[in-house]
Symmetry: C2
Subunit: 375 residues, 2 copies
């Protein structure tokens, strides 16, 4: 059975002080439904990807909350897998469609983060990590900085290579009106910024964001097809991993996804990967098989993944520059790939792409969702 993306919609990502989670959810959902061409009443189920709203505001039960907003009385549930909540919500929807339970469903990813202090959000985000990490005083910038340090030590990856991820993604975001930071930066600016967790400056880190992204998935209408949906997990605690310089769950899930899709990494024309920190995009290139282990920094520095390069990565601007409203991210990745494959992205459109991949990561890689799409 084929499952296709037949409608997409999103809010701008950023500090949306004038919009509630409900406002954003409604806006993105209705845009996706409108683009699908289906009447609202044809939506048979709703899947909501969200990590933090219950914890931050007390409001749980977002599945029913969203169907209430939309005036639908259909099955709905919330999916949470830390920062991979959006990708896992897509996967739950794909499974439901392929089971034959429904023919058309809505997947919404949403997060409202900027109403809270940074320290509050930093602590809330540590819910994606382990108790031991929290007790040690670690935060996510620090955890990924440990991975970056290991990668630098083991493979000679440089700070300039890390920063080149950010420069690229800011350049891409400058062409995306939905992006939180739609402007370019240069390498010196990234390198000379204050450290937040050495070797990371503020430009190595994705921001705190509000935003919503929604897609309508269908098993009876044609669109951009989801030809693989896979995921995997690893220990929540970074210290328990086999390696600090790779995300094993990315390797496992992507290998299964390539097999399901019947493709190889070289067949990919476009990717959206989870650049929560610059090192994460470098590791993603390696773990997804786009380059050899240890060569991710050079690969990105070479321009291969820039717009105009061989395999553009994060044309949305990625988490770094498009923004990272946690639950929305995995769904936004699917939207960007879909729009690229549909050829609708104007100044950041790449030429005639056929196959794209989205990688959505939870925690330091304890959950990874991989989707492959084809026009």
């Amino acid at each position: 059975m084929k499952v296709s993306v037949i409608g997409t919609g999103q809010t701008k990502f950023g500090e949306l002080w004038n919009k509630t989670l409900e406002d954003m959810s409604y806006e993105a959902s209705m845009l996706a439904i409108k683009e699908s061409g289906l009447p609202k009443e044809k939506i048979e189920a709703v899947f909501v990807g969200n990590m933090l709203y219950g914890k931050l505001t007390g409001q749980d039960h977002l599945g029913a909350l969203v169907t209430s907003l939309l005036g639908l009385k259909v099955p709905a549930t919330r999916i949470e897998a830390a920062c991979a909540s959006g990708g896992m919500a897509i996967q739950a929807a794909v499974h439901a469609l392929k089971s034959g339970a429904y023919k058309n469903v809505l997947v919404l990813g949403v997060e409202k983060m900027t109403d809270f202090s940074t320290s509050h959000i930093s602590e809330a985000l540590m819910g994606a990590g382990s108790e031991m990490e929290k007790q040690a005083g670690l935060t996510f910038p620090a955890l990924y900085a440990l991975m970056a340090k290991s990668h630098m030590q083991q493979f000679g990856t440089t700070r300039a290579q890390l920063a080149s991820v950010s420069v690229k993604n800011h350049k891409h975001a400058s062409l995306n009106s939905y992006a939180q930071f739609p402007y370019e930066i240069d390498l010196q600016k990234a390198l000379n910024a204050p450290f937040i967790a050495e070797p990371f400056t503020i430009f190595d880190s994705s921001p705190i964001s509000d935003g919503a992204a929604a897609v309508v998935l269908s098993s009876e209408n044609n669109g951009v097809e989801i030809i693989a949906s896979q995921s995997s997990t690893d220990t929540v605690d970074l210290s328990q991993r086999n390696s600090f310089t790779e995300i094993e769950a990315t390797k496992t899930a992507s290998q299964k996804a390539y097999q399901e899709a019947g493709i190889e990494p070289k067949d990919l024309d476009i990717l959206e990967v989870h650049d929560c920190f610059t090192i994460a995009e470098i590791m993603a290139m390696e773990d997804l098989g786009l380059c050899k282990k240890g060569n991710g920094g050079q690969f990105i520095e070479s321009g291969a993944t820039m717009l105009g390069g061989k395999t553009p990565v994060n044309t949305s601007g990625g988490l770094k520059a498009c923004g990272h409203p946690v639950g929305a991210t995995g769904v936004k990745q699917i939207i960007e790939i879909t729009n690229q494959l549909n050829g609708t992205l104007g100044s950041r459109q790449i030429k005639n792409p056929k196959i794209g991949l989205a990688q959505n990561v939870g925690g330091t890689g304890a959950t990874v969702a991989i989707h492959i799409l084809r026009k």
Copy 2:
């Protein structure tokens, strides 16, 4: 494709001060896997139903947390739909199996509630309701009390009929060693207890509980078959409903479930329903079609749903007396039905049941999951 329950496991429900959420999760999961007869490595995915843990302790990402505990590196996600989290986790697993993605999966429902003050838990549980309800100072006992009052006014339902639900469920729990309150009460005790939200006394309300329940579901091994899995939603806010005296989502989901299973309500031999408050079990009898609208109180008072009656309901003791660790409840219901159909329940075993139904409710009925099982 057939999906069957091939293994079940649960902790005792109650105030488990000496067990963490991790301890309970591991215990229930390993018991279910052991009973399934499968080696642990055959579990291909894990679905965790949980409502409150992130909010109460900060720890999210329970899918990966549980696979970490079990030493598995397989797809995992957390499902949240308020008090219907367990039932919706079962449904997500059924969809995944029927999609062909996996052949054997684990569903765990778990909640750790007694480490916190009652007022803290009452507030946390309001995450299942609407903002307007919270601002009005409503709690779940109060919301269900409004429904009870309406039912009493409209249909002449009595306090004794409400209490008869509790008396029955305590009697059943007295035969269940996993129950939080494994003892009988009489009608006078229930009626004379202090009011918590008139017309409810403490005996009309389910307790705050710790506990975990797990099942292994399989599409390649035979067991008790899940012949229907349906759900529905309604407005999160009670005041926006068409009626206060019925749960429309129960009617919608159960009608679809009867159709999927090819059965009628009269074919049911055994049920587990969501008696978070006594009125909820009365409405469930009506909304599930076991008796006429308005007759639920008389139906239960008649003894028809008592062990030894025509259609026993909540032989586990229900939420009232077995306990209500929120995320675990929907999974525990599936375990009780499975064990009844397998004929393994000793003193509370009913004679030769063939078909059973589980109804799991979130909020005041904003989410309802219905499963029908057959031996």
